[in-house]
Every structure is written in C-alpha cells, then in structure tokens.
C-alpha cells in the first residue's frame, strides 16, 4: 500500500513592536518618514563603551502579545548574544533570547475556508533586536541604522501545519489577534511583520523529514506559494531518489521558485552565550496581573459585544471583527446611522467588495465612517431609496461632497409627493394594459410577481426616486 505524502510546516514570525522608543536606548522608534541615520545614538550604533538597557515598555508589549497567543509567561528568562558579522548589525551580534525565552507554549485556533477548525501550537516567543537596513548601489553599499535596535518579538510555531492553506490562515489569524493587542502594526508591507517558513515532507505516519527554511517571503500569498512550490520540489526530489538537505532557501517571487541561499555546511555558528550586559528578566505576578487587566478587548469579546449590543448576526460580527480597523469602522457607522444591521450589511457587501477590487485596507477606504453612516441614515429616514443609496455610495467613492450635499445637488431625494407619484403610476398603467389583465387573471401566488413588474416600471420612470411604499399602495388601489 502506498501511503500519501504529507507536508510539515512551521512558521517563524517576527513582529516589530510599536513602542515609542527603541529597545536599548531612548531613540525615537517613529522613523518611517525620517531621513537615513537620524534616529541613532552611540548605543544603537554600537559605539565603544555603550551598554544596552531594556525598555520596560518592550517587555510589557511582548507580554501582551504572548498573552493574546495563549502563551505561558515564564517568570524568569534571559537574553543571549547571537554572534555573526553583518554590516547592518552594529555590534556584530544580535541580542536575542536563545534557550530561556520570556514566553513558552501557546496556541492559535484557526478556521479554514472549508469550515474545519484547527489548533496550531506556539513553541515559544522571544524578544530580540532588529538590524539596520543595507542599501546596495552599483559599486558601494550604504547602511541606514534607523531600524537598528528596534524591538521585535519572534513567534515560533510548532510544526503543526500541513498545507499552505493552513499556513495562510494561521498568518491571517495571528495578524488579527495581534492587531487587537495594539502592540504592533502587523504590516508585512511596512516590514513590521516578517515571516520565514520551515518546510519538510514525509509519508503519513513517518517521522519528520529534513526541513528546509525558506526566507524572503514578502506577503502571506507569497508564503502560501512558496510552501506549495517547496512541497512539490521536495516530493519530486525524493521520488527521484534524492534526499532533502537541511538548507536555507530564498523565495524568488518573479519566477515562483525557491533558490538555495546557504547549505548546512555554510550555516553560521552563532556562538550563543548569555548576554552579560543585561540582567535576567524577572516577570513578577503583579506585573502580569496589571498587563492582563490592561489587555484591550479581544476579537472574541468584541464579536460577542457586537452581536449582543448591536444585535447584528453572529456571522456578520465574525466577518467584521476579523480586522480590528474594520470593526472600529463598523462601530462608527452603526452609531452614526443608528441602524447596526443595515450598516453591517453595507460593510460586508459593498465596502469589502470595493476593498477587494482595489486591494486596499479599510484605513485607505475613500468613504469615511461618518459619511457611510450618513448614507445609511438617509435610507432609514426615507430621504433616499436603497437603490439610490447604492448610486450615492458609488459617487461618494470619488466625490468629496457630503452625502446630503450630493443628494441635494443631484436631485436624488426620494419623491414622497402622492400626487406626483400617482401621475407616474397612471402613465405606467396606461401603457401596460396587458399587465393589468394579467394581474387580474393571476392567482394569489403569481400576483406579487406581476405587481413587482409594474413597480419596476414606475421606479424606472421616476429614476428610482419614488417612495416604494407609496407606489405599492397606489398600484394596489388602482388594480383592485
């Protein structure tokens, strides 16, 4: 009996923490729009004689992150030095946590598109420092040290994932969970989230195969593609009689392949040893309790609150709460519109569709929560119809005027004048005598459909502005 191949995947995720200052010095961490090498000091440049001093906020943020991932917080841990020469690493060693990390075992529960649920274990989480950035010219290289000694946490998963789909969902869920803690921007684009994948294959039931580490993954989709490629490559290699070597490979996005970066023989010997310039980290119980109390609302808590307070459908709450920024957006729209369920409907169908088409985040969305709330309240107040509201929504995507102003300027307000509507109804009925006969001959079951047809005609003539309720009443009166 031939057994099936199975992939074994573990992910290492680096998150940059958004503290005000760097991890060892008081340099501002807000360097995104700053000139090169302006957020530096003797400490983060590794000048002679300097010493690191742990930014306590970094530890607070790191603990919050680990708590959100259901991790065990170790009372005691230590920092170590990872020694390697690289120009963007000022001290030529990285301060990290090697064998005694501040957080241990945890887990992330993921839900696959099929509805299947799975728990992915977290092996450990460690605090470490970021490096600067090398910029390579044709004949020379430059280094920007603004990022040097920025605080990171590295989240190492158990080798629990079996497909690229699971890895993709793990990353999405992880991102969502961390977003809720507000400790990191978790943006792969901005570089505040980085991911390396460890991939091996085996026949189901066998021991783990030799793993390959894949780097240079620049999006969640790239992670998934690289995993699929690597699984195929390894299986093919083994089936052709080869063996997989423990090596580090780079994902080549343009060509959709992984390429060898270094073999096991070329691997660095990092010569880890305990960092003598820093004392052991001791996390006291009262600190842990304080941080637990300070933890912002989690996704599950928010979902529960949305369905209870706003009475929106649980499935809608789940979709909206996947992204904390979207959840915040929803809350503002619902408050403004005073109609939470309609707000949820609009966000899930209209807003998410536009975001998907334009490949944007809610933060970049053209219509503010204030304006969308106004559009929805215009429907509720009877000023415009749902159909007109959709047109208004599309206009508002590129129009700076307020929704009310657009309605006024473009004459989109609903016509509630019975006399005006009656003349349209009469006009439509006079042109559709066949339908009147049809209506009268139809049984109770078919009548609403014919009525619907006439309604459509009236709305068309009124350019969608006739109040549907008045139209229905008038039609029924005239047809009876």
């Amino acid at each position: 009996m031939t057994r099936e191949w199975e992939a074994v995947i573990g992910l290492e995720v680096h998150l940059q923490l958004k503290t005000n200052t760097k991890v060892w010095c008081s340099c501002s961490a807000d360097y995104d729009n700053s000139a090169e090498n302006t957020h530096v000091c003797p400490i983060c440049l590794g000048h002679p004689g300097v010493l690191p001093k742990l930014n306590e906020k970094v530890l607070d943020y790191a603990i919050k992150g680990a708590l959100a991932l259901n991790c065990h917080i170790n009372k005691e841990s230590k920092f170590d030095r990872k020694n390697y020469f690289y120009p963007d690493t000022p001290k030529n060693y990285q301060i990290t946590q090697f064998d005694e990390t501040y957080a241990g075992k945890g887990y992330v529960d993921i839900k696959l598109p099929s509805g299947k649920e799975k728990r992915v274990g977290i092996t450990k989480v460690q605090i470490e420092e970021d490096a600067g950035k090398s910029i390579h010219g044709t004949n020379e290289s430059y280094i920007n040290f603004n990022r040097a000694s920025m605080p990171l946490i590295e989240i190492i998963s158990d080798p629990d994932m079996r497909s690229s789909e699971e890895a993709y969902e793990y990353l999405n869920t992880l991102k969502s969970i961390i977003q809720y803690t507000e400790i990191s921007d978790v943006s792969m684009e901005k570089g505040s989230l980085r991911c390396d994948a460890n991939i091996s294959v085996r026949k189901v039931g066998d021991k783990f195969g030799t793993r390959v580490e894949v780097k240079n993954l620049n999006s969640f989709k790239a992670v998934a593609k690289a995993i699929d490629y690597e699984i195929g490559r390894q299986i093919e290699h083994i089936e052709n009689g080869g063996t997989v070597d423990q090596e580090t490979r780079l994902w080549d996005e343009a060509n959709g392949v992984t390429r060898i970066m270094r073999s096991k023989e070329e691997a660095n010997d990092y010569r880890y040893f305990p960092e003598p310039d820093l004392v052991r980290i001791v996390i006291e119980e009262d600190r842990l309790e304080r941080l637990k109390a300070e933890m912002p609302e989690s996704k599950l808590e928010k979902m529960k609150r949305f369905s209870e307070t706003y009475k929106i459908k649980e499935t809608d709450a789940e979709i909206i709460c996947l992204d904390i920024a979207l959840a915040d957006y929803f809350e503002k729209v619902a408050t403004k519109s005073k109609n939470p369920q309609i707000s949820a409907n609009w966000i899930i169908t209209e807003v998410l569709r536009v975001l998907k088409d334009e490949n944007k985040e809610i933060g970049e969305f053209a219509i503010s929560s204030e304006d969308l709330g106004e559009i929805i309240s215009l429907i509720g107040g009877g000023t415009i119809s749902s159909k007109i509201a959709k047109d208004l929504f599309l206009i508002k995507l590129t129009d700076a005027r307020s929704p009310s102003q657009i309605v006024k300027d473009e004459g989109m307000a609903q016509v509630a004048d019975t006399g005006a509507i009656e003349s349209i109804v009469d006009e439509v009925l006079s042109k559709n005598e066949k339908m009147i006969v049809d209506y009268k001959e139809a049984d109770e079951g078919r009548r609403p459909r014919v009525l619907q047809g006439l309604m459509g005609q009236v709305m068309k003539v009124s350019k969608g502005k006739a109040n549907p309720q008045i139209v229905t009443e008038l039609l029924l009166k005239k047809l009876s």
Partner: protein, 483 residues
C-alpha cells in the same frame, strides 16, 4: 613649599581649603614634574596642555573661593585610556581605535567632572586591557618608575606608574582579572577593584563584561576611599549596576581592625615564593598586633581560577570586540575587496597579537560542540569559586592574600602567554566571584615595591578600606619613586 605633586588628594584638599595653596600651584607642580619624568616613564597617551589645565584650575579655584568646593575640587586626575570622553581620543591603546574620538562621557567621567576633578589625560594600558605588562599598547611601552627597565604591570600600567612617578594625584583603572591590583602592587600604590555592579561600566570599553569593573587608584588609602565615594553608585545606564545603600566609605576608615576577623587562605600561600610568603607573614603579624583575629581558611577551588578566567574572559571579549570591524568607526584597511575582505583586513591590521589570541580562544570556546566542555563548564566552576568565598565569609570579615607572585619583572624578560596568565592567580578569583579587592603597598623587596591584597564581602568596600588604612598606618607611607 613642599612638592605638591607628591602629596595626597586629602592633604591637597586641606591646603586648598585653608587657602595655603591655589589650584594653579598644584597644576604647575604636577606639570613641572610631568615635564621632567614623563619622557622616562611614558604614563600618558593623552594629556591636556598646562594652559588648558590652568584654565580648568581657575574654575575650581572660584568654587573654592566661593565655598562651593566639591569632593574633588581642583584635584588632578587621570583616567585609563579605555574610558570614553565626549571629545578627545579614547583608543584603548589600540591601532584599531587610534583615530577614535568619543561622542559621550562615560558615567565615571561625568561623576569626576561633577565632583570638580580636573581630568588631565588618559593613561597607557595594555591593548583593550588585555595583558599585565602594558607592553601590548599601540602607544608604546610604559616603564616602572622604580626601575625603568621593568614593567609597570598592567593592564592599568599607566594609571599606576603616573601615581608612583608623581605625575598626577588620583587615577582610575579598570580591573578584569587584576588590572588595577597587580600594577598597584608593582608600583607601590593603592588600588581598589570594587564589587561587580558598584561602579557603572557605562563608557568603559568592554573587555569581559561580567568581570570588568572600574576602580580608583591613589598613593594613599584615604585618597582611594575619597575617589571611590565619588564614582560609586547605581547608574540607570548600566543594567548590571546595583542599587545599594550609598553611604560614605570614609566614615569608619579610621576605626582600626580590633576584633576584625581576617582569613588567610592556605591555597594562596602554597605556591607563593619565599619573598611573598614573608610579606604575608609580616602583614599577619602586624594585623595581630593591631588586634585583628587571624583565621585559617580554605578556598579549595582557587587553583581552577586561571583556567576558568581564561575561558570566560576571552569568550566575552571575542563578542565585545566584534564591533571593531572598520565599518562605522575606527581603523579601516586601505584596500579591500568586498565586505568580508574589509573585516578581515581591518581586524588583522588593527588588532595586536595578544588581542587576536584572546579573540581566537574566545571564538573557539563558544563554538558549537565546544560550548558545553568549555564555556558552560567554566561558568559552573565560577559558581564553585564564588561558593568558596561565600562559605569563607561566614567566618571572616576580610581575606588577606598576596597580590602578585613577585615584584615587577624586566621589560625584556621572556615570558610565554600562559606564564603571564598564570601570574594572575591571586587577583582573578575576586573578579570571578564579583568581590571587592584592595591592594595596599607593604614593603620593598630588592628596591621594588610589593603590596598585599585584601578581599571583602560584596559591597563591603568600607571594611576593606578600613583594614587597608590600618595597615598603611603601621607600614608607613610609600614615598614616590626616585626619578
């Protein structure tokens, strides 16, 4: 007027306060002396001009005249060449940093300035504090003022020789395995290696972070105590500095040793030569006369100290010195092909042999497959050595030991690195255990000074200095070297 350059800081302070002298008198006396003897001794790597010193003296004098004198107002001080100052070169006596100018003040430098001290320069040392001769300096050899054909010891050789030669009143040294205490012994001066964590290391160019400590050196125990009061204390910039109750060590310094229990570890005397044994026996006799109680103790793991030290110190050094790579500052090779070549050439050309030797040892002992056998084992032995002291200090207040295996040796005396390493046997244990150690001059053997070492409980420098002062009172003060 007495030669002001030969007086202690405490004496000078009194004279300044009594308006018997002015700060400029001290400056002129010391600079006259420097002009006369520095060419022979070579204590300094950097020295400010007499004019600069005189302008600083003016400020100090104003403070004294306005009764605003601080603890070291108008006292001339020199610091070891591995303590960073904002502006001016700090090179660790290495070619690697020969062009390096600091961009901030070390915490001890700030404290000295805040106490009114006039920092006149930086003293020579072994390259990156690695050595016990000051011969590995890129800035040339320093001579022992007592015999110009002999080493001043090291690595704080210049900090000790400058005191013995009368070129300065107080100095700072740093001590990783004896680098304050061994040169203090060789030059007939007083040197204190404080408890690990008592003095901030911020701004000290690191050799071995878990062992390094900055300490004061002077010609009198009182002076060392005075300077220690200024530099000690918790520093927020140094995570390994310790918060302890900060009281002056001067308050009980004259209380004597009556009833003090002084331990004599048998392991320290087994290997000592007859001269050194005689020095210790003489010291024991004096302490007995002074009313101390002498207790025989054992520190059974002493013999493992050098091997433990020469694993841990190079391991940390190999990592601490990795930042000197020619990329951001310091020496950069002229011609190179790519970044790897830049590293190799800059480091090959910028570091001296002893530094390279220790980087290689350190890299080796931390390597995969060797870590457990060397570094980890060394840390375990280090713990045993510390336990020895903890146990000993249950029954004694202070431990008396030799400071060195002999007196200063000839500059050209051939010694292998291992021979030199083994000579640190008496001083290394205090660094491994993080304990304070004080060397006080005892006598002269064939015209060369030799000191005794007193080891104390962690953060109990007060008792150590009290015991040292009592000893100094009975042996009499060591004169300056005759130059």
């Amino acid at each position: 007027m007495e030669n002001l350059y030969s007086l202690s800081a405490v004496e000078l302070k009194k004279m300044l306060e009594a308006k018997e002298i002015k700060v400029e008198d001290i400056v002129n006396s010391i600079y006259d002396r420097i002009d006369k003897v520095e060419g022979l001794v070579n204590s300094f790597v950097e020295l400010i001009s007499r004019e600069e010193a005189l302008s600083l003296a003016k400020i100090a004098q104003e403070n004294i005249d306005n009764s605003k004198a601080r603890a070291l107002e108008g006292i001339l001080v020199a610091i070891k060449n591995n303590m960073v100052t904002d502006g001016g070169k700090t090179t660790a006596s290495s070619k690697m940093l020969d062009n390096y100018e600091g961009v901030y003040d070390a915490t001890v430098v700030k404290k000295l300035k805040d106490a009114g001290a006039i920092i006149i320069g930086k003293t020579n040392m072994d390259e990156f504090a690695m050595g016990s001769t000051t011969k590995t300096s890129y800035a040339g050899e320093t001579k022992n003022p007592w015999d110009l054909e002999r080493v001043p010891g090291g690595s704080s050789g210049g900090s000790a020789s400058s005191l013995a030669a009368g070129e300065v009143t107080l100095t700072l040294g740093s001590d990783t395995g004896g680098s304050i205490r061994q040169p203090a012994s060789f030059n007939g001066v007083v040197g204190l290696k404080p408890t690990y964590g008592r003095v901030s290391r911020f701004g000290l160019i690191a050799f071995a972070s878990s062992l390094d400590q900055i300490g004061p050196m002077g010609r009198r125990v009182d002076d060392v105590a005075l300077m220690f009061d200024v530099i000690k204390g918790y520093d927020d910039a140094d995570a390994t500095s310790v918060k302890v109750e900060e009281e002056s060590v001067l308050t009980e310094i004259n209380n004597g040793v009556k009833g003090l229990r002084i331990g004599i570890p048998k392991e320290y005397l087994e290997e000592a030569n007859d001269d050194i044994k005689a020095v210790i026996n003489e010291a024991v006799a004096k302490y007995k006369e002074l009313g101390a109680e002498i207790v025989d103790i054992s520190l059974p793991h002493t013999e493992y100290s050098p091997s433990t030290y020469y694993i841990i110190a190079p391991a940390e050094a190999s990592s601490n010195l990795a930042r000197f790579d020619g990329v951001r500052y310091g020496y950069r090779a002229e011609n190179f092909d790519g970044v790897e070549d830049l590293y190799i050439k800059s480091r090959s050309e910028g570091f001296g042999d002893e530094v390279k030797r220790r980087i290689m040892i350190g890299t080796y002992v931390l390597s995969a497959g060797f870590y457990d056998a060397y570094y980890k084992k060394a840390q375990q032995v280090r713990r045993l050595i510390k336990n020895d002291f903890d146990k000993a200090f249950e029954s004694v207040d202070v431990i008396l030991t030799p400071a060195t295996t002999g007196t200063a040796f000839k500059l050209d005396e051939p010694k292998t690195p291992v021979e030199l390493y083994l000579e640190d046997v008496y001083t290394i244990p205090a660094n491994l255990a993080g304990l304070p150690g004080l060397v006080v001059p005892a006598t002269k053997v064939q015209g060369l000074p030799v000191g005794i070492q007193l080891l104390g409980k962690a953060f109990d420098e007060k008792t150590l200095l009290r015991a040292g002062k009592a000893f100094e009172n009975v042996v009499g003060k060591m004169e300056l070297a005759n130059l």
